[in-house]
């Protein structure tokens, strides 16, 4: 049994438009995946594919009009969907934590770093303020903040972007979680700082025997920091598998298009398939959602494609998943 098991998760946005017609945006359409101890799973996809929504659904942080209409999220064999805030908080923030986007807005502007670290501990267990303070300072040092004692007394607004991100990681790890979800942990950081943060994350996950899920739109991050990856499109995971396998033998045309659109591949193979506009979540086509943009589309694509296993833990949601396109860019020519 895996640490985190997400099964057939459907999250919808239900609202009424100005003409009083019911509108349902299908944000997630049956998302299933697992994360095991020691793994770093990367979730990639374009804007609106449902990456962040997946994380929010898992963490129970959805705000109306978004809500889970079907499916289950099991963490360490405990069902999280439908739990009240009180029970959820026993897991959230201690065993399962999240680093949300935009580090600066994620810190309480009116509490010093140290106080926030102490508070995060005292919320979940009884620990003396002194002990919590010491643990906090140690954690700051662990995440690579020099002069940790002094930084404990800093206000959030005095931190640089990279520092703030480190403090957030410290906050997420302070209660010794078993799994960490990082939503675009390096977006907005400079390239040279990005490397520092990602290395830190990987080391921490390995040292602490944790699991992690990284949400990103950067295939480079997935390629070098994740063990497994899930490719999302229009609220579904269209392909998942070990990173190396997916990169070298992508079976879903969308994954193939993604990989072939990276500048490196373009430089080697020329321009591949051109991406179209994202599908309208209020009016998703029946069958394969990628149909309209797919060069491989056929009549059969009007029926929902099955999730087909194509290798060790490698699955793709495509009618043609069995056809190996060992060289993704070869399927198209620029």
């Amino acid at each position: 049994m895996s640490l985190l098991e997400v099964n057939n998760l459907h999250t919808h946005f239900v609202s009424h438009d100005l003409n009083n017609r019911l509108r349902v945006a299908k944000g997630l359409n049956g998302v299933s995946f697992e994360v095991d101890k020691g793994e770093i799973v990367g979730i990639v996809g374009e804007t609106g594919a449902g990456k962040s929504l997946t994380a929010m659904s898992i963490m129970g942080l959805l705000q109306l009009p978004a809500r889970i209409v079907e499916g289950s999220v099991r963490f360490d064999a405990n069902e999280l969907v439908g739990l009240g805030v009180e029970e959820l908080n026993k897991i959230r923030g201690t065993q399962l934590t999240m680093i949300v986007q935009s580090p600066l807005s994620s810190l309480d502007p009116l509490s010093r770093v140290g106080k926030q670290l102490v508070r995060a501990q005292q919320e979940h267990r009884s620990i003396s303020a002194d002990d919590a303070w010491r643990a906090g300072a140690d954690m700051l040092a662990t995440v690579g903040i020099p002069d940790a004692e002094r930084r404990m007394r800093a206000w959030p607004h005095e931190l640089s972007g990279g520092m703030a991100q480190r403090v957030l990681i410290a906050l997420a790890l302070i209660n010794g979680p078993r799994m960490l979800i990082a939503d675009e942990p390096t977006t907005g950081l400079d390239v040279t700082v990005q490397a520092q943060i990602l290395d830190l994350l990987r080391t921490l996950v390995a040292d602490r025997d944790m699991a992690a899920m990284i949400i990103t739109h950067d295939l480079g991050v997935v390629a070098h920091y994740c063990t497994r990856m899930c490719v999302m499109f229009a609220g579904s995971i269209v392909e998942s598998g070990p990173v190396r396998q997916v990169f070298n033998d992508a079976r879903h045309p969308y994954t193939q298009a993604l990989i072939s659109s990276t500048p490196k591949r373009i430089a080697q193979k020329g321009y591949g398939q051109i991406g179209g506009p994202p599908p309208n979540l209020y009016d998703l086509p029946l069958g394969c959602h990628y149909r309209d943009r797919c060069s491989r589309a056929a009549d059969i694509c009007h029926s929902t494609p099955p999730v087909t296993g194509v290798g060790d833990k490698h699955e793709a949601m495509c009618h043609f998943a069995d056809e190996s396109g060992a060289n993704p860019a070869a399927a198209h020519h620029g």
Binding site: T47, G220, H224, F247, T262, I274
Partner: protein, 347 residues
């Protein structure tokens, strides 16, 4: 080589800081040429002044000093009234197409606006011109009646490019034109830009922090750090043999989207300092693993390291400017062994 269409010499741009008496030194003496039919890539992290340079070139900002020569015109400090007729020659495409278009105007009118401002075409001729432009950027004609919020990011960026092309400009500044777009859409935009350059021979200034994209589209590259050019040269030469320690670190921090590439990274300590108080001497010295005492003295000049390839580092003279070589030499075999181990564990 063709005559440059735009020459920038010693461009300096300062802004008043947040506190009284403070000065933000955004750009500190940058020179370059734009050649028709070629793309110059500006690379740098936040605070490197790359966007400021772009805005100075299209005269959205007035440079503090230096010179910008466009053809026969010195546009460095001319007023908006004199600049306006020249605007049709120098266009810009911004990073975020969602905010770069007036949300209250339809796509067709947004493109038509430029035609209207810079030509005497009647309404009918204008419509035809807009349709032709839309076709050229591969934008479906039925999208022209839509408002920006009814279009996707890729479509919006095509509208922006159509706007930039509407007046047949000689120079286009592209300020991170693909950063806010999804990967699969990015490629299409890059392809379109290349296609247009081949057709029209327009000179492009391509600003980006994404090294791979810059490498893909640029003929020449300028690497910026804290408003200084620390390296320039032909794109391939710079990527093949980065000479400034910062260029080396920057290039090594790149994550190629390919798990089979073995990373060999020189991770820098700390972050880019704010451009308020510039470090003395070489701006990169405080973070440079190779910094020597003399680095905090005078600012190092750009010296030739190859054909048309220059870098500003004092260590170039004695050939000790390679971070990796220096590290290996310093740490010896132990370091190398550790590094091998690390690489094995992570891949």
């Amino acid at each position: 080589m063709a005559e440059p269409i735009l020459q920038v010499r010693n461009l300096v741009k300062h802004f008043p800081g947040n506190r009284p008496g403070e000065t933000i030194h955004a750009v500190n003496g940058v020179s370059f040429d734009l050649i028709p039919g070629q793309t110059l890539g500006l690379v740098g992290e936040s605070g490197s002044g790359k966007s400021t340079i772009g805005r100075c070139v299209v005269r959205l900002l007035r440079p503090t000093s230096g010179k910008i020569q466009f053809g026969a015109h010195d546009i460095t400090t001319i007023g908006e009234g004199q600049m306006r007729p020249l605007r049709k020659e120098i266009q810009i495409v911004f990073q975020d197409p969602y905010s770069a278009l007036n949300p209250r105007m339809r796509a067709g009118n947004l493109i038509g606006e430029l035609v209207k401002l810079h030509s005497d075409l009647g309404p009918q001729a204008r419509r035809e011109r807009v349709a032709a432009l839309a076709a050229r950027v591969h934008l479906n004609a039925d999208l022209l009646t839509r408002f920006p919020n009814e279009l996707s990011g890729g479509q919006l960026q095509r509208v922006c490019i159509a706007r930039a092309l509407a007046t047949n400009p000689k120079v286009i500044v592209l300020d991170e034109p693909t950063s806010s777009l999804d990967l699969s859409v990015r490629a299409g935009i890059l392809e379109l830009l290349g296609e247009l350059q081949r057709e029209t021979g327009v000179a492009m200034l391509f600003i980006s922090h994404d090294l791979e994209t810059v490498q893909l589209v640029s003929h020449r590259i300028l690497v910026l750090y804290l408003g200084f050019v620390i390296e320039d040269g032909p794109a391939n030469a710079v990527f093949a043999k980065p000479s400034h320690p910062y260029s080396q670190a920057l290039l090594s921090a790149d994550l190629p989207p390919d798990p089979d590439v073995v990373l060999d990274r020189q991770i820098l300590q700390g972050e880019v300092p704010g451009p308020v108080n510039l470090p003395p001497g070489c701006a990169f010295a405080p973070r440079c693993p190779l910094a020597r005492d003399e680095c905090t003295g005078a600012r190092p000049p750009l010296v030739g390291v190859g054909e048309n390839h220059h870098a500003a580092c004092v260590r170039i003279a004695d050939g000790t400017n390679d971070i990796r070589a220096a590290q290996i030499a310093a740490a010896g075999d132990i370091h190398k062994k550790f590094q091998d181990q690390f690489v094995r564990r992570t891949t």
